[in-house]
Symmetry: C2
Subunit: 409 residues, 2 copies
């Protein structure tokens, strides 16, 4: 856990219902300049859930400080449609492999989650433990095991205290409630400074979501988890989720390290009878993604690098990631240093061997590196074509070094 414990105020939480529908909310969930918020959106109590969903979180004893560490989110509707996206890391954790191999990804009724132990690099036993969690959740909720996803986050290479987790699953299943978004979002936290959650309403439907991720988990990996519930009718949930994730969680980097446990689950009950308003899912996930970057281990500022005029979109993406992950650019963001040369160098490295116009101050806008804003907008025009891409990233700070070097196993 982060030294000093959680910050008392949540980063991405809103405690009040926004004024009224039909106008842009002054809400506290949507706070980034980079999120395009659909018109007519209401921010509801972020502890709430979309109608037809229940959740709970309990403390089972995995976290040394006695914090909430086992959670369940479940849909009451049998006819749920869902989509499940999992990390591509070849060293994927046991729960990810169980989801891949034993879940019907389009018909997930519930997810059982624990924090405090990632159950990664735990061998055959870890795999069996994740199956046991799935089966206990299914039994407690009266579901087929293939309708239950499993997600875990926390320390790695450490055997799971399965007895504690199974007992926690039973208790969580017994206390599911429509206001359970609060305790559930706490049950997925590790080094997060606060819960990342929202419940919003627009176009006659509600979307609730709970996410976690702060760059690092003592002593192991960066992991992000996100669970989204809606009563909207979503005919192709996998496509909807892939498109929204491509514009949000796949646009961010803290330390360039792909986790073994990343999991995103979208569940749609359809009970609201209306489709998702355009841009709503994307806006929710992008604000949650930006909350993860802002809460990145040691982060003090967030940058957005926009690459234009690349030969292709893929080339723009490669250049944007090289800049966003350059320790020189990340330390310049930390040091408020408008050092465009570091952006030129990283772009040149990503384009090694190709013809490139000289990247000087006429092609690179690095002014906001040097400003006081907590969100710095940067850009580079490569002069090679019409490809474009952008990536959000955190800075590299003394606090990152302290967290990752000084607290040893």
């Amino acid at each position: 856990m982060r030294a000093g414990g959680r910050r008392p105020e949540a980063v991405a939480e809103s405690g009040q219902r926004a004024a009224g529908s039909g106008q842009r909310p002054s809400g506290r969930f949507f706070r980034s300049r980079w999120v395009e918020v659909p018109e007519g959106i209401d921010e509801l109590d972020p502890a709430g859930l979309a109608p037809g969903f229940r959740a709970a979180g309990v403390a089972c004893g995995l976290k040394a400080d006695g914090g909430t560490d086992v959670g369940i989110v479940a849909c009451d509707q049998r006819a749920v449609s869902s989509a499940l996206l999992l990390t591509r890391n070849a060293a994927a954790a046991a729960p990810v492999r169980v989801c891949r191999e034993r879940c019907k990804e389009g018909a997930i009724r519930a997810a059982v989650v624990n924090s405090g132990n990632a159950n990664a690099a735990t061998g055959e036993r870890g795999y069996a433990d994740a199956i046991a969690m799935q089966e206990r959740g299914a039994a407690a909720l009266g579901l087929d095991a293939s309708a239950v996803a499993v997600a875990e986050t926390g320390t790695i290479g450490v055997p799971l205290r399965l007895d504690l987790v199974l007992e926690g699953i039973d208790r969580a299943a017994a206390t599911l409630g429509s206001g359970g978004g609060a305790s559930f979002s706490e049950a997925i936290m590790t080094t997060d400074a606060g819960p990342k959650r929202c419940c919003v309403r627009a176009g006659g439907v509600t979307v609730s979501a709970q996410a976690k991720g702060a760059g690092m988990i003592e002593p192991g990996y960066a992991t992000m988890l996100c669970f989204i519930q809606t009563d909207a009718v979503v005919p192709d949930p996998e496509r909807a989720l892939r498109e929204a994730v491509a514009a949000s969680f796949e646009r961010i980097t803290v330390d360039g390290q792909m986790s073994t446990n990343d999991t995103v689950l979208l569940q749609a009950s359809g009970a609201g009878g209306e489709p998702l308003p355009g841009g709503l899912l994307e806006a929710v996930l992008l604000q949650l993604a930006l909350a993860i970057v802002a809460d990145g281990e040691g982060a003090s500022r967030v940058g957005r690098i926009a690459v234009r005029e690349a030969a292709t979109r893929a080339e723009a993406e490669r250049v944007a990631r090289a800049i966003a992950n350059s320790p020189l650019v990340k330390t310049a963001l930390y040091g408020h240093d408008p050092n465009w040369g570091r952006i030129a160098q990283a772009a040149g490295q990503a384009l090694a061997g190709v013809e490139l116009a000289e990247l000087g101050p006429d092609r690179i806008d690095a002014a906001e590196l040097g400003g006081d804003s907590s969100e710095a907008e940067l850009s580079v025009a490569l002069g090679r074509g019409e490809g474009a891409a952008h990536v959000f990233f955190s800075d590299l700070t003394h606090e990152y070094i302290r967290i990752n070097a000084e607290y040893t196993t």
Copy 2:
């Protein structure tokens, strides 16, 4: 320049001649456990040069502290054979482009070098300035311009004080001497803690070399330069240099950032009449490369990650670089934390989407991360085939953040 100035003792310098030929020297140049030193090698005065070469360094005023900042190294023999390797960065600096376009790479008689200004991202004027340096060097030495290489290192995006440099070239050309390796190696330093140079003799031939590189140059880029002189007969200098560089400078990383100015020049006069003993060039360049890593910005320890049992050599290389550049692995090296999970995560990321046996402690040796050694040997066996590769890397420290974030332009 690094705060506090240069350390008084050079990192890779030997002041004494080793005992005698025919036995492994106790010399102070070859000091890494990872360098396989050929039998029967003598370490000579590292300020010396191979017979038939002369060099000099002078202070022309580019460096604010009045340090030596213009240098020349030249071969007396008209029949020199040479090889010149240059950065592939698409934002290459003016001197690199001049070398590419205006040098006969196989017949370089001399190199003119300045430190204090990299002449990178300096537009048309920078290109013209680099040509002016080449032509002034050629005139002062009585050579064709195509026989003169140009290298520069220092700040970027700043116009060169060409008048100072040209005057320096004239003075350096007038003071060339066979003991000029000392002042020449100082003329190429920027943030280096000390000169990196050697002069060794084996198999009837001498090899001298001068290198620079420490990860970062205020306020711009990482750059490494290396100049190697020998009186050996080297029939295919490009092949010899490529093979030795592949096993040395291409095996190291400080911050994963490819420079705009990297340059390596090998010159062989052939006057000694004997070939290079096997392994000699590689040993010299690897020790110099390791000196650069050990002198990496903020570095306190050096790691070597050996990847075995990859499907191919290229796959092993990709995995080794992912581990060596992971900020999580680099901070674990700094924190003396034997955290094998971070190696598993980085390997899994590099192999995203492929089938992989679980990477646990039976496949990862991270014990020396946790030890006290200044050189930590690490390994991972992927269980996929017979491909192997290794990379040397520095740790990521508070001092790196301080140097790169707190000293702004």
